[in-house]
Every structure is written in C-alpha cells, then in structure tokens.
Symmetry: C2
Subunit: 329 residues, 2 copies
C-alpha cells in the first residue's frame, strides 16, 4: 500500500524522538499535563526567535485554527477566504455561526489581493495554498495584512517548510497577523497532534483566554516531551524537508513528460491534472493498484488529484502506475 493521500511525511521523526519516547517516565502520566505546554512553547519561541508569549500550542493545527476562528472571527461582517482552499474553513465558520464569503482564485490559481480589500470580519488563507500547493509572495501577504488593520489575518502555513517563505518577519510590523503551523507535515509527527501559532502577544493572550475558559488540559504529556526534540533537531528537519523538495522537483518533470499539468507546488504535494485522462479515473485506477491519492468531486477541482510527495521509491511506483494508466487510456 502506498499512502499519498494525507500529506504526511514519508520519513520518520527526528531520531531523538524515539530515544525520548523510550526513556519517558510513565509514572508521570498519572498527572495532568502542563496546561501551559511550557517546554514546547519555549522551544518554539527559541527556534522562531519570538517571545514565548507570542506562541500558542494546540492539538494539531485544526485545533489552533478552530480556536482562532472562535476567538477572532466574531464580527457581523463576513470573513474572507479563497474559494479553493483548505476544506475546514467553511466548516468552522458554520460551526461558530460566522458569516463568510469566498474570493475566487484567479485562472492560474493565485490569490488576488484586491479581493481582500473589501469590508470584512477577518481573513484566512493558507500559504502555500491547498490543494494547489501554490505559494504567494511575501509582498502579496503583506499587502493583505496591511490593508486590514482592523481585523485578524490568519496565514495558515501548514506547508511553509517545503520551500516557502514564512510571514513570520511581518510580525514585527503588523499586530493583526497570526501565523499557524503544524508538526503533522514537515516535522513528521501527525500522530502526536501538535499545531501552533505565532502572533502578537495580545492576540495570543486572547486565544489563551478563550481556550482556558473551557478546557485546561489538551496537549498530552508525551506530545509535550517529544515535540521539543522535533523542534531542536534542526539539522534533521532541514535534511528531510530538503529530501522531499528534491523528490517533488524531480517528480514534477516526470509528471510533465506524462502530460500532466499542475500549479508549481511549493508544498509536499502536487495537484495534477492530465490532458486526456479524467482525474476521477486516475484516482480509481491508482486505488486499484493500492496507491492512494486525494480526489474531490467539487467545482473547479474535480479534474485534479492531489498527490503527496512520498519517498523516491514510492514516487517511482506512482509514476510507473500513472504511465500505465495514461498510456492505456
């Protein structure tokens, strides 16, 4: 089975993680975990050169994003996000009864910053975007953040470590910016459920106030302990993200040869469409071969499959299968 459908990392977490897990004091799990997640918060603050008061940790970035929707998106004006984007934004908006409006990506799948200059109750977009993998420039991000001083602009950087440029430096200039990242992709720890965001101290305090008002203990103890190691081992982190980027660039060429087109992904996946074979057929025929990619039967994106970048061997098996499927079509 080759699993290329949920954008996980094909490489194991940092070697120190296994050492720490094996040496963990199991007696300590009888106690509630540190509700402030202090060690992990400090490790992240050190790594990203921000104050620990600028970091908020949650149970995966879904938890962080959901909490940010609840905390910051409570005006009467609609929040704005792209029409093609992460599939949970409209879900949380509905859950918390937040009015929302989607802004269509342009024909090359890019965000038009002018769309985000209308009256709104907040803005969220991923960069790179999903499922396209397209990166917006820091200038575009800044243009949107700068044009909206009265609301919170959330940049969801789940895939930023695969060659993107983070908006973190903009935090020095803008207090309405919140940057969300995750351990589930580039840090190879989807199983531990760790996400975090970095922003102005005041925004982070609001998030904490909301979170602690109804749930004190969410990040389990092992995630707190071994999450720190994943942050500290920068060399390993660079090594595995570098390998994934190299594989992605190599596979882009193979896919082009196979007559696929795709936005030029800066993430750990490629959103590809074939000139002759419908995406649904590709998805189904790959599944028959025990190769899993992601397909959505939704407007604008129903003729593409999203393929996670796996190991080189996994990607070679995938492209062999695609060659068969497309040549026989």
């Amino acid at each position: 089975m080759i699993k290329l459908n949920t954008n996980e990392c094909p490489y194991p977490p940092a070697p120190g993680v296994a050492r720490l897990a094996a040496g963990m004091d199991c007696n300590a799990i009888r106690l509630y975990p540190d509700s402030n997640t202090a060690s992990l918060t400090c490790a992240l603050a050190d790594y990203y050169h921000v104050k620990k008061e600028q970091v908020f940790v949650g149970v995966g970035s879904d938890d962080v994003l959901s909490m940010a929707f609840l905390t910051f998106f409570n005006g009467s004006l609609p929040i704005l996000f792209p029409d093609v984007t992460y599939s949970f934004y409209d879900v949380w908006a509905k859950l918390y009864r937040i009015p929302y409006k989607t802004c269509p990506l342009d024909e090359s799948w890019h965000i038009n910053p002018n769309d985000y200059k209308q009256p709104n109750g907040g803005i969220i977009f991923p960069n790179p975007n999903a499922p396209t993998g397209l990166l917006e420039s820091l200038d575009t991000v800044e243009e949107i953040v700068k044009a909206n001083p009265g609301v919170v602009v959330i940049v969801d950087e789940a895939y930023i470590d695969f060659g993107g440029v983070s908006a973190l430096p903009l935090l020095e200039k803008y207090d309405n910016l919140l940057i969300v990242q995750t351990f589930s992709k580039s840090r190879a720890m989807a199983g531990m459920r760790i996400g975090f965001c970095i922003g102005n101290e005041r925004l982070i305090q609001y998030l904490k106030d909301v979170k602690f008002s109804f749930n004190s203990y969410t990040i389990n103890m092992p995630s707190q302990v071994i999450g720190v190691e994943a942050v500290r081992d920068e060399a390993y982190f660079k090594e595995i993200t570098g390998k994934i980027i190299a594989t992605r660039e190599r596979i882009k060429n193979v896919l082009r040869d196979l007559k696929f087109t795709f936005p030029d992904s800066c993430a750990n996946f490629i959103f590809a469409s074939h000139e002759a074979v419908p995406a649904k057929e590709i998805f189904t025929k790959l599944r028959e071969r025990d190769i899993y990619v992601r397909y959505w039967d939704k407007p604008r994106i129903s003729n593409s499959v999203r393929i996670t970048i796996g190991t080189d061997a996994q990607m070679d098996a995938l492209t062999d299968a695609l060659r068969e499927i497309c040549n026989n079509a």
Copy 2:
C-alpha cells in the same frame, strides 16, 4: 510537595503501559492517528460488555462532555444541573449559548430527583458528584432518566470506580442515557488525555457526526496504544482503586477525630469542613507546608476544602499538618 488538589491517582498506570511506551514504533507517529480510535474503542466495548458502536472516545472527559453539550443540548428549554457540581458545566453552556438552570442540592448535599421533573432541554450531573464525593443510588439515577425520555440525560461518572455503582446497566432500558467516564482518575493516565462515553448507538453516532464534521484527528497515537493496556489490566485497576478506597475510609476516621465533617465520599477525594477553623485558613496553611488541596471561594462551598486521596504516606503527612493547624487555631 504533596499534590492533593486535582484528584489524580497517586499510583502509576498499569505496568504494561511502560512496556508498551518503551516499545512504541516511533516511525508510526509520522502518520495521522486512527481517527476512529478503533483499538481503544474495542477494548472499552469488551471491558464494559457493550457494542463498539456504543463507545465514543475523546481528549479527556472534558472533550467528551463539551462535544455532548454541543450535540445534544440544543433546544430552547434550559438544561438542568446541580448548583454545586463540576465547574465546567455552566462554562460549556455559556460557550454554546445553551440556556441552563441549576437545581439546589438539599441540605445533605444530595440531588432531589423531583427537581429534574420540570420541562428541560437536557440534564447532566456527576455521580458521585464533585466536589462533594456523594453517590446517588441507581434508583435516583433511574428515576431521573425515566422521567425525561425526550431529552438526553448525561451521567458524568468520572469518579465511579472508587466504590460507586455505574448506571451502565440502565442502558438496556433507556436510550436517552449517556454515561461519561475518564482515564484521568482511576486509570492513572491524566497525562494522556483520554475520556469516553457509552450510550445508545444512535446517540453515539450523533456525537461522531458532530465531532467528525469539524475535527477528524484528535486522539494521538500513543494514547490510543497505551490506553488499551490500561483497560486490559483489570487486576491492577482493581488493586489501585481498592488501595485508594481503603486509604479514603481510614482517613475519614482520622478527619472525624480532628473534628472535620464531610459528605460520605464515594470518590477519590473528601470535601471537608472543620468545626472551628475556616476552610480558607486550612487551605492557606497547608500550602505554606507545601501541601496542596483545592479551595473555592464560592457560595455554599467556601467553608470546605477538597482533598484528593493520595498514598497512605501522603495522607499521613496531610493529617499531621491538619492536626497542627487545627489544634493551634
């Protein structure tokens, strides 16, 4: 430092937990955890002799309770719960804009089932109750469940394993009953954040529908793996809960000798009030001795401290300190 303020278990988790943790495949944490928490759900279903479709697992019982509030308490009539009870019920009601009404416990801290026969949008109470530790009989629980066939009645059994009688057998007769339990107390795993509930298959399906609609992956992989071991080792579970019960009964006598009064706790804590020394003073003077108990400056309960049952040695240190504090008062 003696920590008797958050009702954790003073004994380590089941011995197999440490073995499993040490042998855990850290490569597996690069993948998302099983969103259905299948192994843990099945272990719980086996242990409690229910179908796996009757079990829902969450990130601690706070997550399960919060999800149950969101799922089941959405009518226009107020939900009902005791005036003295777990401090998060009114928080979740406010969070989800659920109208609520509290029913006063009687002068002996018991629930009056007649209070729960008025029109309502749902009912929740802990059994044993917190912070009193008082157990209601299965007859009382059944009387309330039976009188409210049109709404969901949640019995929060966080402390049931310390000598209480669970309402689980009532599930055969009532489809409006939801029973919530936790791994944080009797199963000595507060650090892993595992809670669960058991109810009619249809109620559990509703809970899953709501949960999966906005967050697929919440229970991390290690919690799923080692949680199973905590359920399977019944002998150890009986041993540690038995020890805590024995310590509790012994300490009740010591506290009586020291002129404390308290509801006759069936939980792993005692809610005690001294005939002469104010609770706030006891709380403060214990803290000066590095002994931590819980105190609330709230109506009806501001003259009691809640003392978690620790090891015999911890409790002897506590009662020695109380003897000093009360004799010198």
